[in-house]
Amino acid sequence: MLEPYRVLDLTNERGLLCGQLLGDLGADVIQVEPPGGSRARRLGPFAGDVPHPDRSLYWWAYTRNKRSLTLDVGRPAGRDLLMQLARTAHFVIESEDPGALARHGLGYDDLAAVNPALVYVSITPFGQSGPRAGWAASDLVLWAAGGPLVLTGDSDRPPVRLPIPQAYLHAAADAAVAALIAHHERAGSGRGQHVDVSAQQSVALATQSYILCDAVGHPPVRRSAGGLKNGPLHLRLLFPARDGHVAITFLFGSAIGPFSRRLMEWICEEGGCDAATRDKDWIAYTEALLSGAEPLAEFERVKQVVEDFTRARTKAELLEAALARGLLIAPVAAIDEVLASPQLAARDYWQDLPHPELGRSVRYPGAFARFAASPIRPGRRPPTVGEHSDEILRDALGLDDAARARLRAEGIT
């Protein structure tokens, strides 16, 4: 789909996913790294637990379908080569602090001057503008700044993040969408533009619009392990199973209430509760609790009924019942269980990419969508440091053997 286009990917760990997605869609993505390799290559875990720039699993996760060019853009000769590449590139993606590339003469204005059709995408913690654009950030800090963090965790302990960093992935995925919006417009106008992505704003999506509580007049909700506290209501969405945990959408109202009724019908059938408990009005249950018509203590009892029921059954039993009865229950899967999923196997989801330098293949996540007419093909494995420097300098810039040898000798590439 994007086969006609070339991407210059200058990002570090903040933005790698954006270029990988464009590469998945067929673009020729050149990952430009400083000599010695990107700082993202220092992020663990590492293959075999051996720290090495070519063994970072973070790097592997987000640089498939890219070619690596090492280039010292801080030196004039390196900058000139990048400018030459930018003349014919269609996208540039970068994730340095605001203004950092402009100080090297590689900001949007610099590149647009030589290639007005360029779509130049900047991914930063807080965006290019605003009083805190220069603030230092990390995954945890962005999760706090954008709102999802406060909603998550046990109520008697601090709010807690996911240990697999998420914030910059939200931003980088947004950046890929933004790049294609700008690209679509360019097809008509012939003109590029600057795309400015703020990770703080991107992660706010994961608040499920609770960011707006104060603006609409709803009291702020608070965290409660596997659920949330909405005023006096302690909603619960995770329950124990005999062999782990399950997620249940145990909520009420006209859309979800009927599912909760079916769950209570099953529990009653199996002797887990009496008919009066089963026959509560699960559609209007929230309103009954808020008005006091249903005591909050009774809701606590109901959640205990559900817990006692699920605790006596395995995740697989609960999932089978969910499928047979139309219930909103799913197993809480550990990573090994995700890899063993019969659904993902049946859909041939995983892709095994050969790593010849390791003498083995590595199993990666597969296509993010199934395009019937233009399928995403298994790609190339993540590049080693500078793996494609020579071919890019030769083919994209037309440099002869002597010129390339000189650049190598001078440490430019």
């Binding site: 663990g44 875990p45 987000y62 807080f126 965006g127 290019q128 605003g130 009083p131 805190r132 990390s138 945890l140 800090v141 962005l142 706090a144 998550t152 965790g153 046990d154 807690v160 996911l162 240990p163 697999i164 939200h170 950046a175 969408v177 294609l180 700008a182 690209h183 533009q193 703020s198 703080q200 704003q201 999506l205 619009s209 104060d214 603006a215 709803h218 596997g226 995770l238 945990h245 959408t249 109202g253 006209s254 859309a255 979800i256 909103l328 229950i329 799913a330 550990a334 990573i335 995700v338 890899l339 993902l344 049946a346 859909r347 990666y364 996540p365 597969g366 993010f368 969508a369 199934r370």
Partner: protein, 404 residues
């Protein structure tokens, strides 16, 4: 003259609840013409979700629904009536893209599956999304993003090693997958622009969201290690966590990634002697003594104002931020400066607060054309202005009961 980047993109949107509408909201912000079909009988779950205006539940009161559907035209339509089905096919002829997020098989039952619709509009792009994909033994597993977050490995990872999983918040994958959906729509349109060919796209919420767990999946496939819950600890930064601040249930997030950050933290906490404490002299030493370190830091942060403390740490280059809930977020100087919040004119409330685009396009910025319509409020526009129906036709449709 402001230009709309996607002004020539017409989307007939049958998606509902959260993930799908979040995707088409991104495209509507940049000018895509989105006509969303909904039923007043089978209510959109998003209309039943908090936060609510004045904390009052009701189908026109949901802040979630309004946030995800601003800028769209909505048509209330009963697809099971012949008249409603006819309107749907006219919209298919109008559309470049049809999107839907029902359980697999539902569109076929409604005679709105891709094979049927491509005969009506041969250049059509159609994108389906559901939890597990359109095929496979679990295709019929329907539900919400909290279930996809559980089954694809997210929920198990959030929380404390000595406690049950706390998960990421609520329907997490509903807030990962919209970007992949929007990307799939734009990529399929690009393919059509190059080749003239429409196509069908199947986007599984679980499959696309797994890209956000890439390093953990590889740690298993390469090293055989199954990631577990670790609270807020980090592979590299130490101390790294959420520490108490003054006030009830108030917190500040701090990430010490370098020795310079550590010295900055000690200075701001007015504990300069800690920089000379051998237990904390290097990242390795701090890792070894992390529990003691966390206790010391928590004691020092507890009386401090969370915003002032974060600002002082930032002045020394230390990554830190107040852990913000809604009252903080809607006053956050950075979000305000970025224009993150918009007040849209609303017939019921006067103003409907929504979030803006999460990114800026310098030459063709986002424009939110209006609030999410109340039930039926945009029907006239869709039927008359989009489809060109005349008075007689519209009157007959109203009388048929199809517009419900």
């Amino acid at each position: 003259v402001s230009t709309r980047a996607l002004a020539d993109v017409r989307i007939l949107d049958f998606m509902w609840v959260m993930a799908g509408p979040a995707a088409t909201r991104m495209l509507a912000d940049y000018g895509a013409q989105v006509v969303r079909v909904e039923s007043t009988r089978h209510i959109d779950t998003a209309r039943t979700l908090a936060p609510f205006h004045a904390a009052t539940p009701g189908p026109e009161n949901s802040g979630v629904f309004q946030n995800l559907n601003a800028g769209k035209r909505m048509l209330t339509l009963d697809l099971r009536t012949p008249e409603g089905y006819g309107v749907a096919l006219d919209l298919v002829r109008w559309a470049d893209v049809v999107t839907e997020s029902f359980a697999p098989g539902r569109m076929r039952a409604l005679r709105l599956d891709y094979e049927t619709l491509r005969r009506v509009n041969p250049r059509l792009v159609m994108v389906s999304t559901c939890l597990m994909g359109q095929t496979g033994p679990r295709a019929g597993f329907a539900g919400y993003g909290n279930l996809a977050a559980a089954i694809s490995g997210f929920s198990n990872l959030g929380g404390w090693p000595d406690r049950a999983p706390a998960g990421p918040f609520s329907a997490y994958t509903d807030y990962v997958s919209p970007r992949f959906l929007a990307l799939a729509i734009l990529a399929a349109l690009e393919h059509r622009r190059q080749t003239g060919e429409g196509q069908y796209v199947d986007c599984s919420q679980a499959e696309c969201s797994l890209h956000f767990l890439g390093p953990a999946l590889l740690d298993y496939t390469v090293n055989g290690r199954v990631a577990g819950r670790v609270g807020n600890r980090d592979r590299d930064a130490v101390p790294h966590g959420v520490f108490p601040a003054a006030g009830e249930d108030q917190w500040v997030a701090i990430a010490v990634e370098t020795d310079a950050h550590w010295r900055g933290l000690c200075a701001v906490l007015e504990r300069p002697e800690l920089t000379r404490d051998p237990r904390f002299a290097s990242a390795e030493a701090r890792r070894t003594n992390e529990s003691a370190l966390e206790t010391l830091v928590a004691a020092a942060t507890a009386p401090r104002d969370r915003h002032a403390l974060a600002a002082e740490l930032q002045a020394r280059g230390v990554p830190a931020y107040a852990v913000q809930n809604s009252p903080d977020l809607v006053r956050d100087p950075q979000l305000l400066a970025r224009g993150h919040f918009h007040q849209l004119d609303h017939p019921t409330y006067g103003a409907a607060p929504v979030e803006g685009s999460r990114f800026v396009l310098s030459r063709t910025p986002a424009v939110i054309e209006g609030p999410a319509p109340t039930y039926g409020a945009a029907n006239e526009y869709v039927l008359r202005d989009v489809l060109g129906y005349d008075d007689e036709h519209i009157t007959a449709l109203v009388a048929s009961g199809a517009l419900t």
